[in-house]
């Protein structure tokens, strides 16, 4: 029996087993399952063997549908095969799952279960995905903990080989897939004993072979097909027993015993809860606590859900059971109940001996909603009612259909001997990593059971992380967030103002602050509301200036070492000398060969942390001295920030609670019923996350507009105004005479929304103007934000009050003028320095007031549409981009649907207009029907005509009685706005365009419809953490390409050009911004499909994001990325449609590649491969350059 332990999460626990038990893995990234594929790829690139001594083939596919096809094929060819997936990915596999199961093919597919996208996408965990696959014929085996997930990966493999029924091995997304626990690992010897060699041989023998050919996958007629489906019954019937046998064998080998259904509770329970997955941990904890109170309750944990062994399920329930509540972690609208409930009802009806117990069902934990022992108690309490509420929900407040149960939040089952700590970290400050490290140190050093769960943010910059750590002598089953912590650590001072982080502090707990203040000032600087909470709860407060210590020790902004030391010093979970020794050992282990300076810096930080940690006691320095708070004083509610006082009710009612991290308490009525939200809410957030913000120097500025253009967050804006308009400007508001003759006599200003800035400094990097006496000083420079905050706010507010320029008067081909257009995409949560968002902002400036966006799932759908706030916004007339996200794979089709609908609506409007022509001024009708809407002026005039049309139609509606003409007028009024051009933009990343959505894009091109595709090409799946796509260049290292991408980047633009009628542009703003602008204008004006490939630098490239635009230029200078425009209209002028706008490559490719870590990494891991791929890439680049020259009619003819 293996005794080796590791502190790992569920994904790794599963991957460690699945990797060794398979020969082929077909993978595709999807949260939260991606890490399993990443582990597999990384191990394969290192040459790590599986159980049989071969390195598994790991194949990334273009979609989960593709992955399922490979799985099916590899299984048919006799290989042990798996894949990892979740959510929509599993849905894409369903057609193959029916095939694989129908053909009785042994396989295990590991699913980190996740919610399905309905009215909104959610990356979080529930069972709606696997429940959608319950009819496929696959077995469904549910693990409820990290340990079980690892164990069941092995048990499922043994069972599938024995039964020939394929398995979905399910564990809860995030709660299990990302929770860190101590896991007993399975060694190879155990796995060998568990997986019989003869069953593996039998599986292989069933593979297709020309040496003993068979035919499989026939088409059958009505005479046979039904019988064929029934012919497999005995295999499904036998499966539960075979699973139990595998479990028993596993138990004998490891000492960990499982049953199909595990009952826990009172042997003569009257009330029993039935559920699956991670919620079982909280339920078991609650049952134990209720039993201690004398209640006869129990919980039945379902492991094998399909094939459902109804008789055993019933037999597992105590005969004393009088009432059962079945909890489903999914929702099936319109059904008679959720799946597990209905199955249990059926099982009881069929198998319960005598008078059956009452059975009710309910929903819990959708999309990782918390599920606590208090909620379990509420469910048990419901069962005691004379008429228990059926089809209930628990964990939310349903004030609309009143199906939710009341929960008593004071019910607490946390073991007193368990130490609980909660840490609030900012972005990637190292908090989470340090906590993962602490779990290992404590686990190894003390033998305590440990648990770590981490709540991440949906923002990609300035995010908040919350780490929940438990340590205790007994196994930790608390599958819910900590409610009463003995230690709360606040790693970023501003959090004290922003949300109620002491809500989780238990009375008498310790508060650890990373404080920028000297100890003697610290108490006074703590907000009054928090001070009173500290007093009321009797907290001890400690502070350390971790940021200063980290800086002084040479660790930059990484405060994790300092805060970790302070945590150990205060937590007392292990003796401090041992803890320090372990921390120092970990430092040597992590950094030993990385140079003595980095080791010395960390060791210095350890010592300085201990010296710098100070207890803070209340002082009279309080700004508002009042009597100390008493223990029963409730916490004051968080104040509404001043800038939100004038916000719309929607923002105050729904957005603010999210920002203050208290939206779990919002009732159902607060939410829209169909996922429809107002746009433009990001402007209310004011995150203040930048340490430094740009400051404009009017005397140096050449007013080129470049800084405005590249700003990824639209925080830098320019305006011109009559000097008189600036008379009332607040003090310090900067302006200067406009340089462009177009605005002669007017004043020019650039202002910065400091509270919305991420501090990326892209603007400073692109600024071309320097002080000739002091060249370090540019026309825009970074300066610390905090001292500027107040003044900046007033400047920004005043700036917003200045009128925007008349759009018709701007020359859009000149960046300095074009950039005065109001962006209708602002303040997104994208990464600081994002390379994608400047393109979206540009499109919103140019076309936002008539723009409809179909957005593929990915980075752009997250920073574009992830609550709490969204960046797509409106102008003063209330117009702006309308935005929607359907799925990942269907975005081209989704956007085509927009186009077809708009065309249809407009055609109908024109038809109605013609019908009413005799009642309307002829010039108006002609104008509306023949309008040239190819530019701003044309759009403006058409809007004027539509307004006139409305005025003309309104009186016609008043005529009584209604006539046919009235009806026509009424319908035309409804559709009048459709007479104005609709600009359809289909937006997504390269994962969508090159891979999963390519089929749709290709078909869209073929239709010839007038849409604009904007591909934000980061050359990886950025949103899921940088997995390889077909856009990844040769020689780059990415996840799923750990050994370097060995094939060339797909030339999507060239493919599109072959249609002949598609406008194609390849742009890189950082290389030539005016080219980008021109391409956008041309693409939008092209009356057919347009494709813009926009090079977007990305955090996954391993670059200094502040220099992202310079990296774009290097990509172009080396010829790795070409600038070109392919405009079919040029053919009418007798010209070649393709114009190559790049100059001949002037930078060696190897030099451009060496500047990005994604390429350098290969030199560090596979230097031979790196050299070979670089050589090939240079040759391919040269060939491509020649090809494009010839296509443009500029190169030598072949």
């Amino acid at each position: 029996m293996s005794t080796r332990q590791a502190w790992i999460d569920g994904n790794e626990a599963v991957a460690r087993v699945a990797y060794r038990l398979n020969e082929v893995m077909a993978i595709y990234p999807i949260t939260p399952a991606s890490p399993m594929g990443e582990w597999a790829d990384a191990w394969a690139s290192e040459g790590r063997p599986n159980l049989w001594g071969s390195v598994p083939a790991v194949v990334e596919m273009q979609s989960e549908a593709g992955a399922a096809g490979v799985v099916h094929g590899a299984l048919q060819a006799g290989a042990l095969t798996t894949t990892f997936t979740a959510s929509q990915g599993l849905l894409l596999m369903i057609p193959n799952l029916y095939k694989i199961a129908g053909e009785l093919t042994a396989a295990v597919i590991h699913v980190a279960s996740r919610a399905l996208a309905t009215s909104a996408l959610s990356i979080f965990g529930d069972h709606s995905d696997v429940m959608a696959a319950r009819g496929t014929g696959c077995a469904l085996l549910f693990a409820s903990s990290v340990q079980e997930a690892g164990d069941f990966a092995a048990i499922a493999t043994a069972a599938t080989l024995a039964s020939r029924v394929p398995f979905l091995h399910v564990f809860d997304g995030f709660r299990t897939s990302h929770e860190i626990q101590r896991v007993e690992l399975l060694d190879d010897a155990t796995l060998r004993q568990l997986i019989p060699a003869d069953l593996v041989a039998a599986h292989r023998a069933r593979g297709l072979s020309p040496d003993h050919p068979v035919i499989r996958g026939t088409s059958q007629n009505p005479d046979l097909c039904f019988q064929a489906r029934e012919a497999a019954n005995r295999f499904h019937d036998a499966t539960p027993q075979l699973v139990q046998q595998a479990m028993d064998r596993f138990g004998a080998l490891t000492g960990r015993h499982y049953q199909l259904f595990n009952y826990q509770g009172h042997p003569e329970a009257e009330r029993v809860l039935v559920l699956m997955g991670s919620g079982c941990g909280a339920a078991a904890e609650a049952v134990e606590a209720l039993m201690a109170r004398g209640e006869r309750v129990g919980v039945l944990k379902v492991h094998l859900y399909r094939p459902l062994a109804g008789e055993q399920l019933v037999a597992a329930l105590p005969a004393s059971t009088r009432a059962i509540a079945v909890l489903d972690r999914c929702k099936e609208p319109g059904s008679g109940g959720e799946p597990l409930y209905l199955d249990l009802v059926a099982a009881i009806a069929e198998h319960w001996p005598g008078a059956p117990p009452r059975v009710i069902g309910g929903r819990y934990g959708l999309a990782s909603k918390e599920f606590t022992p208090a909620m379990v108690k509420a469910v048990f309490d419901n069962l005691t009612a004379s008429q228990p509420r059926n089809h209930f929900s628990v964990g939310i407040h349903d004030d609309v259909t009143h199906r939710s149960l009341e929960v008593d939040p004071s019910f607490n089952t946390e073991a007193p001997e368990t130490f609980r700590a909660v840490f609030y970290g900012l972005g990637s400050d190292g908090t989470v990593g340090a906590n993962k490290n602490a779990i290992k140190i404590i686990g190894e050093g003390t033998g305590l059971h440990t648990q770590g769960y981490f709540v991440y943010d949906s923002k990609k910059s300035g995010s908040v992380t919350v780490s929940h750590l438990r340590f205790g002598p007994r196994p930790i089953r608390s599958t819910y967030l900590i409610r009463q912590a003995q230690l709360v650590a606040c790693h970023h001072w501003d959090f004290l103002e922003q949300f109620d982080l002491l809500e989780l502090a238990a009375p008498g707990a310790t508060l650890l602050l990373n404080s920028p203040w000297p100890p003697e000032q610290c108490w006074a600087q703590i907000p009054e509301r928090v001070r009173r909470q500290i007093q009321a709860k009797g907290l001890r407060v400690f502070a350390v200036n971790a940021s200063a210590i980290a800086r002084a020790s040479g660790l930059g902004r990484t405060i994790n070492t300092v805060m970790q030391v302070c945590f150990f010093a205060l937590a007392g979970v292990m003796p401090m000398p041992e803890a320090l020794a372990a921390i120092r050992a970990a430092i040597h282990h992590s950094y030993g060969k990385k140079g003595e300076r980095i080791v010395a810096s960390n060791l210095a930080a350890v010592d300085a942390a201990l010296e710098g940690l100070q207890e803070i006691t209340p002082t009279s320095a309080s700004s508002a001295p009042r009597a100390a708070a008493t223990a029963d004083e409730p916490a004051q509610p968080l104040a509404t920030p001043a800038h939100l006082e004038a916000a719309p009710a929607f923002v105050r009612g729904l957005v603010l609670p999210q920002l203050q991290r208290r939206a779990d308490a919002l009732p159902v009525s607060a939410l829209p019923c169909d996922g429809t939200f107002p746009t433009g809410t990001a402007r209310w957030e004011k995150r203040n996350i930048a340490e430094a913000i740009p400051v404009w120097e009017p005397d140096l500025c050449v007013q080129c507009g470049k800084c405005v253009m590249v700003c990824p967050h639209a925080v830098i804006r320019a305006k011109v105004a009559e000097p008189v308009a600036l008379v009332d400007a607040p003090e310090g508001f900067r302006s200067t005479a406009a340089r462009d003759p177009h605005w002669q006599g007017q004043s020019f200003t650039i202002q910065v929304a400091g509270a919305d800035c991420t501090g990326c400094s892209l603007c400073v990097e692109v600024c071309p103007a320097r002080d000739r006496r002091e060249p370090r000083r540019k026309a825009i420079n970074m300066a610390p934000q905090r001292p500027l905050r107040e003044q900046n706010r007033s400047h920004w507010d005043f700036f917003l009050s200045l009128p925007n320029p008349e759009r018709r008067g701007l020359n859009l081909h000149h960046i300095n003028q074009q950039q005065l257009q109001q962006p209708l995409f602002e303040f997104s949560g994208a990464c600081a320095g994002c390379g994608e968002t400047p393109y979206l902002k540009l499109a919103s400036q140019l076309f936002g007031d008539r723009m409809v966006v179909a957005n593929a799932t990915g980075c752009s759908s997250i920073y574009g549409g992830n609550l709490p706030t969204t960046p797509w916004s409106t102008n003063a007339e209330g117009r702006g981009p309308a935005w929607s996200n359907s799925l990942f794979e269907d975005n081209a089709e989704f956007g085509l649907g927009f186009r077809v609908a708009f065309d249809q609506r407009q055609a109908r409007a024109r038809q109605l207009l013609r019908q009413l022509a005799s009642t309307l001024p002829q010039s108006l009708v002609d104008g509306l029907l023949e309008a040239d809407q190819s530019d701003e002026a044309g759009i403006h005039e058409q809007r004027q005509r539509v307004a006139a049309l409305r005025q003309q139609l309104q009186p016609q509606l008043a005529s009584e009685p209604a006539t046919a003409s009235t009806t026509t007028a009424s319908e035309l009024l409804e559709l009048a706005d459709d007479l104005v051009k609709r600009s359809v933009w289909i937006v997504g990343g390269d994962g969508w365009a090159y891979d999963i959505g390519f089929g749709g894009i290709d078909h869209l091109f073929a239709t010839g419809h007038d849409v604009n595709l904007l591909v934000l090409d980061t050359e990886v799946y950025s949103n899921t953490g940088g997995q390889m796509s077909k856009a990844t260049p040769k020689g780059a290292v990415a996840k799923f390409a750990s050994a370097g991408k060995s094939t060339a980047k797909k030339d999507l633009g060239l493919m599109a050009m072959t249609y002949g009628h598609v406008y194609v542009a390849s742009v890189a703003m950082g290389a030539r911004d005016e080219h980008t602008l021109r391409a956008f204008l041309e693409a939008e004006s092209f009356p057919g499909p347009s494709l813009i490939l926009a090079y977007s630098h990305c955090i996954a490239h391993g670059i200094d994001m502040a220099k992202g635009m310079a990296h774009q230029k290097q990509a172009v200078d080396s010829g790795r990325w070409l600038l070109y425009r392919h405009d079919p209209r040029r053919k009418h002028q007798g010209l070649a449609p393709l114009v190559v706008d790049s100059r001949a490559p002037s930078l060696p490719l190897t030099e451009a590649m060496a500047s990005e870590n994604r390429f350098r990494m290969l030199r560090y891991s596979h230097p031979e491969q790196a050299r070979a791929l670089t050589r090939e890439a240079q040759q391919e680049l040269d060939h491509r350059w020649d090809l494009y020259q010839r296509l443009a009619g500029e190169g030598p003819t072949p």
Partner: protein, 336 residues
């Protein structure tokens, strides 16, 4: 028939005085090393391992591994967790092993650094990996005006002493000419245990762009004019110190090699000519050298080595500073 080009350097038997000098483009690709050997390289100095750069590379690696990590739920990292087995010293050692495996000629490792640090460990590891000798490259821009020349020289000599004591290999020291008393520094290197000197180091020099007001870096390859400085100092030192002297800078023809041998060089290091013309230039230089020897009836290099050193040349003063003034005064070209 004996090889007329045979020579020794740092105690190593070489087939000729044509040694490929340290330059990443020449020696970072093992396949290119084989090509250089085929073209006649007698030994190869591998590109330099910059000790300070190792720390920076690791810090950069760490930065990119952590940047943006562990904060956004869908992407807890942005780069794969592959082990960088060839980053820093480990990578350099692998290159030495690979070079040793592929080549029959001596392989000389080059260590470059400016401060005391991991020299001893790095040198020992390099020796264990199979290098035949070590070239210590001590140059750094002494930009700290608070430190005296004596202080910096003492520190550098301590490094030489430390490395020479730590490894069983011969050690050559590559120096810049920017010492107040270069001859004294050279002597002290010998006393610290060095077996040879490589004269001279050559570096990227910054430039400025007067329009963009920015600094720019240029790579300018050496040319024949760059031979003068090493020629002078090899001529001055030859026969006076127990050191093998290697000429580096501007060597591009057989005549260049002869010139350096005559002033006393044991070998010549070729870099720029190979970068300009490719590895085949080695064969060209070798042919020219053999031709010259045959034409002048020399049977071996020792016959001419040092014949024009200061100790043996007909006009020893020509090597000394005053000669510079005479050269100017004898200048007969146009003044403007």
């Amino acid at each position: 028939m004996s090889n007329p080009l045979a020579t020794t350097y740092l105690g190593l038997e070489l087939s000729s005085p044509l040694v490929v000098g340290a330059a990443a483009p020449l020696s970072s690709d093992p396949a290119r090393l084989e090509q250089l050997e085929r073209e006649g390289a007698a030994a190869i100095v591998l590109h330099s391992l910059f000790l300070e750069q190792i720390e920076r590379d690791w810090q950069e690696w760490e930065h990119h591994q952590r940047h943006g990590a562990e904060s956004y739920g869908e992407a807890l990292s942005y780069l794969p967790a592959t082990e960088p087995l060839h980053l820093g010293l480990d990578g350099y050692l692998a290159e030495i092993r690979e070079a040793r495996r592929r080549l029959s000629i001596p392989v000389i490792a080059s260590l470059n650094g400016s401060h005391p640090g991991h020299w001893r460990d790095a040198a020992a590891a390099v020796a264990a990996a199979g290098a035949d000798a070590i070239e210590l490259n001590l140059y750094a821009v002494p930009s700290d005006g608070r430190r005296s020349g004596a202080e910096i020289e003492a520190e550098q000599l301590a490094v030489v002493r430390e490395v020479c004591a730590a490894v069983p290999l011969p050690v050559a020291v590559k120096l810049s000419p920017w010492y107040t008393s270069f001859g004294h520094m050279a002597r002290q290197c010998a006393e610290a245990g060095a077996a040879g000197l490589v004269l001279f180091n050559r570096f990227y020099q910054p430039d400025v762009d007067i329009e963009t007001l920015d600094t720019v870096a240029h790579l300018e390859l050496s040319s024949a004019i760059d031979q003068r400085l090493p020629l002078r100092w090899i001529g001055l030192l030859h026969g006076r110190l127990p050191l093998d002297l290697a000429a580096s800078g501007g060597i591009g023809s057989g005549a260049d090699v002869v010139r350096m041998l005559m002033v006393g060089a044991q070998i010549t290091q070729v870099v720029a000519a190979l970068l300009r013309h490719g590895p085949g230039q080695l064969r060209q230089i070798q042919a020219e050298l053999i031709g010259w020897l045959e034409q002048h009836d020399h049977a071996g290099l020792d016959e001419l080595r040092g014949c024009l050193s200061q100790a043996r040349c007909p006009d020893p003063e020509v090597f000394e500073r005053a000669q510079y003034l005479r050269a100017l005064s004898s200048y007969g070209g146009p003044l403007w």
